[in-house]
Assembly symmetry: C2
Homo-oligomer: 298 residues x 2
């Protein structure tokens, strides 16, 4: 069924009648298509469902293109990123093309689906902006972190579930709760992996987020757990290149205070809640996709 989505995306791209865009699109990594899988699982594989899944994946690809420009990322899924290969200009424009073609196609699905999905794109752009702004501060507010990851990551997954529920005639709010929890957990785990994974596996420098100024959940919890003088030390290391020793200090304190366990438990709790909500609605098939979303290398 995922093949039908791939073919629909290719058809949408061909409709643009632009050889350069067709060629650039072929160079983008397809990714795991988690959002499309989620939509198909909830709503089956009728034409409007396949179109919605294709649009959501195009929007997701567009957001990654802009994200990589913003993060000056050289790689995406262990391959050179499009901005690294063809420059920022091309990546920005290809993103705009995928966004706008996606929005155009939403008009051919339904107004309700279109509203849910386009609202999510506003949220994800607001979230990206907030992510950048927060990086210039030493944010210790968990609520602000949660709001930012809700906007940046969870909103489109929430909207995918919600749009699928609308198409399937299922209760929208329940499915949006499921998608929101999944999305929050997904980003929390991404942020944990930035700390636990080997720099080489990740293709980024060690503790990349913190060096970039991002105080993700584990740093917020670490700060809470530290003594006053240690707190000052952590603050002094924020948004700077870190020596091996400084990295070691952060990691050993995370270990001492069981920070990764605490943050991982929080993500898993969100997933358990999501599965429980779905089980209560007889949607046992949706627990698999929830697990797939968090089953990544720790």
């Amino acid at each position: 069924m995922l093949n039908a989505v791939e073919r629909k995306i290719e058809q949408f791209i061909e409709e643009l009648q632009d050889k350069e865009v067709s060629s650039l699109y072929k160079k983008l990594p397809q990714g795991k298509r988690l959002r499309a899988k989620l939509i198909l699982k909830i709503a089956g594989s009728s034409l409007p469902v396949v179109k919605t899944a294709a649009v959501v994946e195009m929007i997701h690809a567009a957001s990654l293109l802009h994200d990589d420009v913003i993060d000056d990322a050289d790689t995406r899924r262990s391959k050179p990123s499009l901005n690294a290969l063809y420059g920022n200009k091309t990546a920005i424009m290809l993103g705009d093309i995928l966004y706008s073609k996606g929005f155009f196609e939403l008009n051919n699905i339904s107004a309700d689906v279109s509203k849910v999905v386009s609202n999510a794109v506003t949220q994800l752009s607001l979230g990206e902006l907030k992510d950048v702004s927060l990086s210039s501060t030493f944010n210790l507010d968990r609520e602000i972190y949660l709001e930012m990851i809700y906007q940046k990551t969870a909103s489109l997954i929430e909207a995918s579930s919600g749009a699928a529920a609308l198409l399937a005639g299922k209760p929208k709010e329940v499915y949006m709760t499921y998608g929101r929890n999944l999305g929050l957990a997904f980003q929390m785990i991404d942020d944990i992996l930035d700390i636990t994974q080997d720099a080489q596996t990740l293709g980024k420098p060690a503790l990349h987020d913190f060096v970039e100024g991002k105080t993700t959940l584990p740093y917020i919890y670490l700060y809470e757990a530290l003594q006053d003088d240690e707190r000052e030390k952590l603050r002094s290391l924020h948004a700077k290149a870190l020596s091996k020793e400084e990295q070691g200090w952060i990691l050993s304190n995370m270990k001492t205070h069981k920070i990764i366990e605490r943050a991982t438990l929080e993500a898993k709790t969100l997933i358990d809640e999501a599965i429980a909500v779905m089980d209560a609605h007889g949607e046992t098939a949706l627990s698999g996709i929830a697990k797939e979303m968090i089953e990544r290398d720790f």
Copy 2:
């Protein structure tokens, strides 16, 4: 009536409930709001019309934000550009926020209007990409130039007229022809000004387009008018920093062959055609806005 559009845009921005976005939006130059004026002239000032005008201006502002990042522009309307003040990241994201909020609001107007406008955004993004790609070639094909400026500039003006006609119950195709001609003429004049205006007035280096690799209409006509050896000289100057002498050579050849007159006549002919089409439909009020669009300092 234009005030109602400004207030509607401000309302849309406030609805995002993000202080940073509200503050950034206030720093954007408002511009002449030509697209909003056009929409109001055609369709009056009912709420759907004001909303459509607000959305189109937000989309136009978004495209300028991305355009300035792509062109590494330091100024916009003689003021520092947003990317110059706050960096490319902020400019890209604010553009995405304005685009997506605009698309979201289109859902609250009508599916027909939404299709016309969102299709134009795809076209303008395709046009921007083509503009960048063509800059790495010495394009001498007038048709390719016309297609690119149609996509980059005329498509949104065409869509503005078309959307307004839909809202007013007027014949869409006729109004789209009017808007398309206006948009093509507008971009041709922009490209002529890059050659005729003083570098200081324009806030860009002299013959900026050609230095950037853009062979706009006057260069295509100049090449046609030159002898073989002169053609080779023109080709050798393409996409390079130009000495005063080289600038002088280009400008004096433009003068000898009356290139600016020829290109200006082509733009004026498009405007005259647009006015004639409207006159034939009893829309005499629309000739004023067509003239305003080309009445700029030569």
